[in-house]
Amino acid sequence: MFYFLLRRFSLMVVVLLLVSIIIFSLLNILPGDPAMLILGQESSPEALEALREKMGLNDPLPVQYLHWLTDSLQGDFGKSLRDNNDVTAILLKKVPITIQLAFMSFAIAVLIAVPAAIISATRKGTSLDYLSTFFSLSGVSFPPFWLGILLILIFSVGLGWLPPSGFVSLAENPVRSVLLMLMPALALGIRLAAELTRMLRSSLLEVLQSDYIRTGYAKGLMERAVVFKHALRNSLIPVITISGLQFATLIGGVVIIETIFSIPGIGQLVYSAILARDFPVVQGAVMMMAFSVVIINFMVDITYSILDPRIKVGGER
């Protein structure tokens, strides 16, 4: 177990290092420099030069990268080029907001997917099954941003049930906070739910045909006991894998959904920072996202052994 953890950890470091190099290079390949975006159409050549110098943009790229790397290893992601705010401080404020959104999306996805998949797998070939298949196919096909705007149209403009967009922190007003995040979480969660339903359904179908399920039925167990105690648990492995991978997609969707719903999380921060070429903020936020994806997938690996004791991490016998 220890060696497994060590190996995974060193892999994580390598992945994050590569991500940092890629994002740094990509940002610098982008046309348009931050100084010019700050000055806009009003930039005089002198002002442009002075600002570039002040921002350290005139240093050679490898020097800039090393500066950033050594600082960020000490937890200092630098300062925003726009308002000189500490990037680490900004990120720490934004992360809980996005975690709340991600958690709610995931919760919605699980709450939809598990029942839908069970019904669909145990009632294979019935109209309920087709309904659930239809739902998962359409769920995968709807882009979250489109779904988000549709939800606003239905629930805010049409029915007037939910506030159209905005954010209040959980600490300030828990009810309103959850309420405001319901539509964005739904927009993200439905797609996830669709993926999970498809995955869980096929996995369940496979398990339901195995010998031990037949044995279960043969020894007179109730259908509910067979499905929940034996089948569901054994079909979760591929679903957990997919969930881990889907988390990365979720983080991607967060960028656009947060922008639509005016949620001041990591996603909107990245979006605005990219448009303004606020390099330190983009780098910090992307590193944070990469870090969370890596961590989640690490946790997925650990979960395997909990779900199925036969799987021992690190190849232990």
Binding site: P31, E42, S44, E46, R82, Q268
Partner: protein, 520 residues
């Protein structure tokens, strides 16, 4: 079995969470609706917070570093300018209650308002004015305001409330420039204390003082009780960014936003037809159009440029793209401006004449690319130009670039045609010199026309508006004739607000001064 229990615990928690949120959903859903009804009935007297929906999150709250219109919306509540404009764009006193201009138009003496203090208690005086000018003029500052104040030779403190600004050359647009960020006065104490962080702790003398900011979420300002002028009516103002124009409008109509600063052209009819909201429209002072690059083929051919200039039907663009909320343009100055030239006629898409000019140019199978921002209206405009020019046999390609890349292309001269406009300035000089003088920052194609340089310089020297008007009228003719920039439209300045929002004065610069607004 143990691990299975763990899993069901998670599922259980999730279920509870959803049930809880489901219940509270119906409960507070009702309360929001009630609130909506109340304000609709006009009993919002107890309301002491104005929510303004911006089109973006302001990048900068330091006026000397700001370069976007969305910053200015917030800055106008926090900072007073030396002078301001009124509804008709006349220059009126603000922090300077009076001023003298020397006969040679090179010395401006400002007599300052008494008893003015900054939000941090620092007294506002001649020293503070000098401090602010020096800050903008400091080359290390890299201030976008530099271009507006670079004519300043030195600032002399005469006494506590009198300050004299010496210019290097006569420069009549100077007062006009001071109605914008260049005239905003920052607290010297706060600047020294916060240094680079001033943008996060802005301190001015304005009717509102800065309270807090949450990036991408809101900026909160609150009434400044020791304000020198009439105190603000509404206590708190909350600025919230909504980048998507549909979401912005939805929040105005069915959310808690009281007014929005930018209205989508396609939504104007919708607002006019909705009794919960109202529209305030004003003729804009800016322009939109195409930069043609005369350093590159096919635009190095003047006949070709002229053909393009007259082949585009401005009225059609106005109607289709801007839903009538714009005026066709033929120069930088809209009809409401004193610098407008009424004798210049707006081209109506004269295809016969355009074709003959095209023939005269000798260019076979002409084609060019227009670079535009990925904004719906810009794209539509480019597509209309595309189809109009197709009729005279010119192929137009449209390429979209987001603003950062677009400005890079512009500055590098890497374009054939580029759709970029300007939101206009108080003095006509601020609207044109940067684009048309040979050393203008936004003269992307580096066009050097001695006649234009002379006209614009003359207009800067003269203090006589009649004389300046004649100069600008001549200037507009020359620019139209050269056709290096094709003026297309002057878009209207639109604001939308809930019906109970009153006291809003629509200034020509489109900036909301929230202090006189009230609910009824």
């Amino acid at each position: 079995m143990k691990s299975f229990k763990g899993w069901s615990l998670v599922a259980f928690t999730l279920t509870i969470l959803l049930i809880v949120s489901g219940c509270s959903d119906s409960a507070s859903g009702d309360s929001t609706r009630e609130m909506g009804d109340k304000s609709g009935r006009g009993s919002g007297n107890g309301k002491d917070k104005l929510v303004i929906g911006l089109d973006d999150d302001p990048p900068q709250l330091d006026p000397h570093l700001s370069s976007t219109a969305v910053d200015r919306q917030v800055l106008h509540s926090l900072f007073d300018k030396l002078v301001d404009i009124d509804e008709d764009m006349n220059i009126v006193p603000k922090l300077a209650k009076d001023w003298d201009i020397s006969d040679d138009n090179q010395t401006y003496t400002f007599y300052l308002q008494e008893g003015v203090v900054f939000h941090d208690g620092t007294p506002f005086n001649a020293e503070a004015v000098k401090f602010n000018f020096d800050r903008m003029l400091d080359p290390a500052m890299g201030s976008p305001r530099y271009g507006e104040v670079e004519q300043v030779e030195q600032v002399n403190v005469i006494d506590e409330l009198t300050v004299e600004v010496q210019l290097k050359t006569p420069f009549s647009p100077f007062l006009g420039d001071l109605t914008d960020r260049a005239g905003m006065m920052l607290s010297p104490t706060a600047v020294k204390e916060s240094g680079e962080d001033f943008s996060r702790h802005p301190v001015g003398t304005g009717p509102y003082q800065f309270v807090e900011r949450e990036l991408q979420s809101h900026i909160k300002v609150s009434r400044f009780d020791e304000y020198w002028g009439e105190p603000a009516i509404i206590k708190d103002v909350l600025y919230k960014p909504y980048t998507d124009e549909n979401i912005r409008l939805t929040n105005l109509i069915s959310g808690d936003v009281d007014m929005i600063t930018v209205v989508g052209f396609k939504d104007i009819k919708k607002i006019e037809g909705n009794s919960a909201v109202k529209l305030s429209a004003k003729e804009g002072r800016g322009f939109l159009g195409l930069h043609l690059n005369p350093a590159k083929a096919p635009f190095n051919n003047k006949d070709f440029r002229e053909a393009i200039n007259i082949a585009i039907d401005r009225q059609a663009i106005t109607n289709v793209v801007y839903h009538g909320a714009a005026l066709p343009a033929v120069s930088a100055f809209p009809p409401a401006s004193w610098a407008h030239n009424p004798s210049l006629e707006v081209p109506k898409g004269d295809l016969t004449k355009a074709k003959s000019l095209l023939e005269k140019s000798g260019i076979k199978d002409p084609s060019f690319t227009i670079k535009v921002k990925p904004v719906e209206t810009d794209k539509q405009m480019a597509e209309m130009v595309q189809s109009m020019l197709q009729e005279i046999g010119v192929t137009v390609n449209v390429e979209m670039q987001e603003i950062g890349s677009l400005l890079s292309s512009a500055i590098a001269g890497d374009y054939e045609a580029l759709y970029l406009g300007w939101d206009g300035r108080t003095d006509p000089d601020g609207s044109v010199s940067r684009f048309f003088m040979s050393n203008g920052y936004n003269n992307y194609a580096k066009v050097n026309n001695p006649e234009i340089d002379k006209l614009l310089t003359d207009a800067r020297v003269s203090l006589d508006q009649e004389e300046r008007k004649k100069i600008y009228q001549r200037f507009s003719e020359v620019v139209f004739d050269e056709a290096n920039y094709i003026f297309l439209v002057h878009i209207d300045e639109n604001k939308a607000m809930k019906t109970n929002v009153n006291g809003f004065i629509h200034y020509p610069d489109g900036m909301i001064r929230p202090d006189r607004i009230y609910f009824d």
